[in-house]
């Protein structure tokens, strides 16, 4: 495989290489080497490009084509152009679902990250044996199936469930967690945070352990307290980890549909119908254009999520750590 040195012609006096003699001028040699290199690069990229083409690009193109044909599985599809984009973009349900997805993400992502940061900081202070026990404990919810968690939390939120029993003990209950439009998303967000806590905490902990101890020690010697050390040293050096967790968490939370589906079935009155659940409901509704509508809504959501991710990356640029 050619090395990067080959891109700049080496002009060592008295040591003209056989390559150069064969290839003619150094310029020509360099361009042929470039070609060689490009070919290698393309060859190595080819499998990924082919796979992306088959599993991402072609389905997208095909979905776009399908979104312009109204039809069910029994009649020949009819070309309707971009009508369905109009239907989706004028459907109040679609915007409502975007709001719900945004609201859920705003609770789950920062909330989950804050709790994970506190937990990780706490685990970092523990001894080896205790830390490994805590790591296992924190990671446990991750291996719980979201379906089982949903059933559990449905029972917890029931009229005579654990949550209302606890509220009853302190004379605050009972609350209608799943039947009240303003409470349902926070209620669904609790298992959402709980299920994601394990991985977030471990990544956060890895980031914390990467911060050189000497920085924190010298800051401590200069009289910086815990909060100052966290604000001026820990958080800036965790920036990339936080950015990664924020973007992936935001996109994942925005796309959550299993928890609201199983805990509240998107209700009451679509108050917990997240964008994916909205699309899913459109797909499984017994309307003659369910397929076209749900494909179109998916494409629109794809654009929305892409835009959100791009915005986040623009606003918060990742940087190399100072000592990297």
């Amino acid at each position: 495989m050619p090395t990067t040195q080959a891109t700049t012609p080496r002009k060592r006096l008295g040591s003209v290489t056989a390559e150069v003699v064969e290839a003619g001028t150094p310029e020509r040699r360099s361009s042929s080497a470039n070609r060689e290199e490009r070919r290698t690069a393309y060859l190595m990229l080819a499998p990924m490009v082919v796979l992306l083409g088959i599993f991402v690009v072609w389905p997208l193109v095909y979905a776009f084509k399908q979104s312009m044909y109204q039809g069910n599985f029994y009649k020949a599809p009819v070309f309707v152009g971009l009508s369905f984009y109009k239907y989706v973009l004028t459907d109040p349900g679609f915007y409502q679902s975007l709001k719900v997805g945004g609201y859920y993400a705003v609770i789950v992502v920062p909330g989950g990250m804050l709790i994970a940061l506190l937990l990780a900081s706490f685990i970092k202070t523990l001894g080896a044996r205790m830390a490994s026990f805590m790591k296992t404990t924190v990671y446990l919810p991750t291996v719980v199936s979201a379906v089982i968690a949903s059933v559990l939390f449905r029972l917890i939120y029931a009229d005579q469930g654990l949550a209302n029993w606890l509220l009853g003990v302190v004379n605050l209950g009972p609350k209608n967690f799943l039947g009240n439009a303003s409470m349902v998303i926070p209620a669904v967000a609790v298992p959402g945070i709980w299920l994601g806590l394990g991985i977030t905490t471990l990544i956060m902990l890895a980031g914390l352990l990467d911060i050189p101890e000497s920085y924190l020690e010298s800051a401590q010697l200069d009289g910086a307290g815990f909060l100052q050390r966290t604000w001026y040293i820990t958080l800036p050096l965790l920036k990339n980890v936080l950015l990664y967790l924020f973007v992936t968490g935001l996109v994942a939370a925005f796309q959550e549909f299993l928890l609201p589906l199983l805990i509240a079935n998107g209700g009451p009155v679509n108050a917990s119908t997240t964008p994916n659940l909205y699309i899913f409901n459109q797909f499984r509704s017994a309307t003659p254009y369910a397929m076209t509508f749900s494909i179109t809504a998916s494409l629109v959501l794809f654009i929305v999520l892409g835009t959100i991710s791009a915005l986040v990356f623009r606003l918060i640029k990742s940087e190399k750590a100072v000592d990297a």
Partner: protein, 457 residues
């Protein structure tokens, strides 16, 4: 939509179901019908043709009944093998849509009456007239035939009829609250009063549908009772959900919910009788099938259960408060083996009347027949069925005045269900919720080009 016409037809239904008078054109189903009744399918072949049958999951005894007779059909001949699958109700549509998208949809499925005509409009079903013997089609009671007939052909074979909303009262609890179960609530006001008196501590006065998908269909009878029409014009040209009579329906649900006379977060769906069986509620609104569930699950509760027609808005009697739902077997338009699949339909639903008679026996006679010959078989096998007081109430006071399920697309019913849920749970003022439903119905009319497409049968 179908005022008057439905009533006359259903009065006939009861005459058929209860007094067992032969109101049909007679039966020729007879006993001993074999798979060969499907026409052109033999009983001995070298290798069987496989047809797939998906059944929506119902009460446990139904699954047992289906399995028994699918096995019996498979062992009765060697030409057709039925591959039988039970699909839970809440995943039914997406599973079916996914199978249709992949081109491997089942040959035969259970379809409810409400989905027959929209399905015909979409070209989803094959007409059974080409495959079933004329005698099997003639056996269908004349009042049920319109539910499955469109353009002069039969698109599903009806199996049963059941009212979707019946009031169940726990007589012990009613007496303890100083109420007389022998004179159940008549008006919506009475219903609220009863629910209030019966609510104490953790026991709620009543349980009724509370989510849009269930309100969408279980409130049809109340909508019709309040307005005398459904929330769309008869020619499906425009919505009329903002009529104040629909607000009355929403307000009934709202009162029950906001005053905490019903569970705020029900653990189970509308069709499940569990809260009534376990004594968590004193009254229950549920379909007639719940009576069968009580007979199976808690026979000792049966003596304490009083059944009544759901109250009417102003307390009048002899009015519609329930629609008649029910299930059919349909043949997929894209089935590769329509003849063999129809042979199975013919065997199970349209053949030996004793097969369906066994079904009604398993159901504790909480559902109603659709075939004259099955009535005769029940009368011969189990004459005691006419003695049950609760059954008589359902037949005389509910089924007799019931109307067929509306056949407009489900989106319209769901829009109304959403409006009711929205009003009852206070996510929007009642009028605003109905306005939203009205807009949604008009949007459906426009998107699905419904204007002027209402079936005329």
């Amino acid at each position: 939509m179908r005022r008057g016409k439905g009533l006359t037809a259903l009065t006939l239904a009861v005459a058929g179901a209860v007094t067992l008078a032969a109101c049909g054109t007679g039966s020729s189903g007879g006993s001993g019908t074999t798979a060969a009744a499907g026409g052109g399918v033999g009983t001995a072949c070298a290798s069987p043709t496989t047809v797939t049958f998906w059944q929506q999951k119902f009460e446990d005894y139904q699954q047992a009944w289906y399995k028994k007779y699918v096995d019996q059909f498979n062992s009765s001949q060697t030409c057709v093998k039925v591959d039988y699958k039970v699909v839970p109700a809440d995943t039914w549509t997406q599973k079916l849509q996914a199978a249709q998208a992949a081109g491997n949809q089942p040959d035969v499925v259970t379809t409810n009456y409400g989905n027959i005509k929209p399905g015909v409009a979409q070209g989803q079903f094959a007409a059974l007239d080409d495959y079933l013997p004329a005698s099997a089609l003639a056996d269908i009671k004349p009042n049920v035939a319109p539910f499955v007939t469109e353009k002069g052909k039969h698109w599903g074979y009806p199996m049963l009829v059941e009212p979707s909303a019946v009031l169940y009262i726990n007589s012990d609890m009613a007496k303890a609250a100083g109420l007389d179960p022998a004179s159940p609530p008549k008006s919506w006001k009475d219903l609220v009063d009863w629910s209030t008196k019966l609510t104490s501590g953790n026991v709620k006065g009543i349980t009724i549908a509370s989510v849009a998908t269930e309100l969408g269909w279980s409130s049809w009878g109340l909508q019709y009772n309040s307005c005398g029409h459904f929330p769309i014009t008869d020619d499906w040209a425009s919505a009329r959900a903002t009529d104040s009579c629909f607000a009355d329906v929403v307000n009934l649900y709202k009162t029950l919910y906001q005053n905490k006379l019903m569970p705020q977060n029900p653990k189970v769906g509308y069709t499940d009788a569990a809260p009534f069986e376990s004594g968590e509620v004193a009254m229950m609104v549920n379909g007639s099938w719940a009576l069968g569930a009580i007979k199976k699950d808690k026979p000792d509760l049966l003596a304490k259960t009083v059944v009544a027609a759901l109250p009417t808005k102003d307390g009048g009697t002899g009015e519609t408060t329930a629609t008649l739902g029910g299930w059919t077997l349909t043949l997929d338009a894209k089935s590769k083996h329509p003849k063999e699949a129809a042979a199975f339909i013919s065997y199970l639903a349209a053949g030996d009347p004793n097969i369906m008679a066994d079904f009604f026996k398993q159901a504790g006679y909480s559902k109603y027949t659709t075939r004259t010959s099955v009535d005769k078989a029940i009368a011969a096998n189990d004459p005691s069925t006419t003695q049950d007081a609760n059954m008589k109430t359902i037949s005389d006071d509910i089924v007799a005045h019931g109307i067929a399920e509306p056949v407009y697309p489900w989106d319209i019913s769901l829009a109304m269900g959403t409006a009711i849920e929205s009003g009852m749970k206070g996510t929007a003022p009642v009028d605003a919720a109905l306005k939203t439903a009205n807009d949604s119905i008009n949007s459906t009319i426009q998107k699905q080009q419904l204007k002027g497409t209402a079936p005329q049968s």
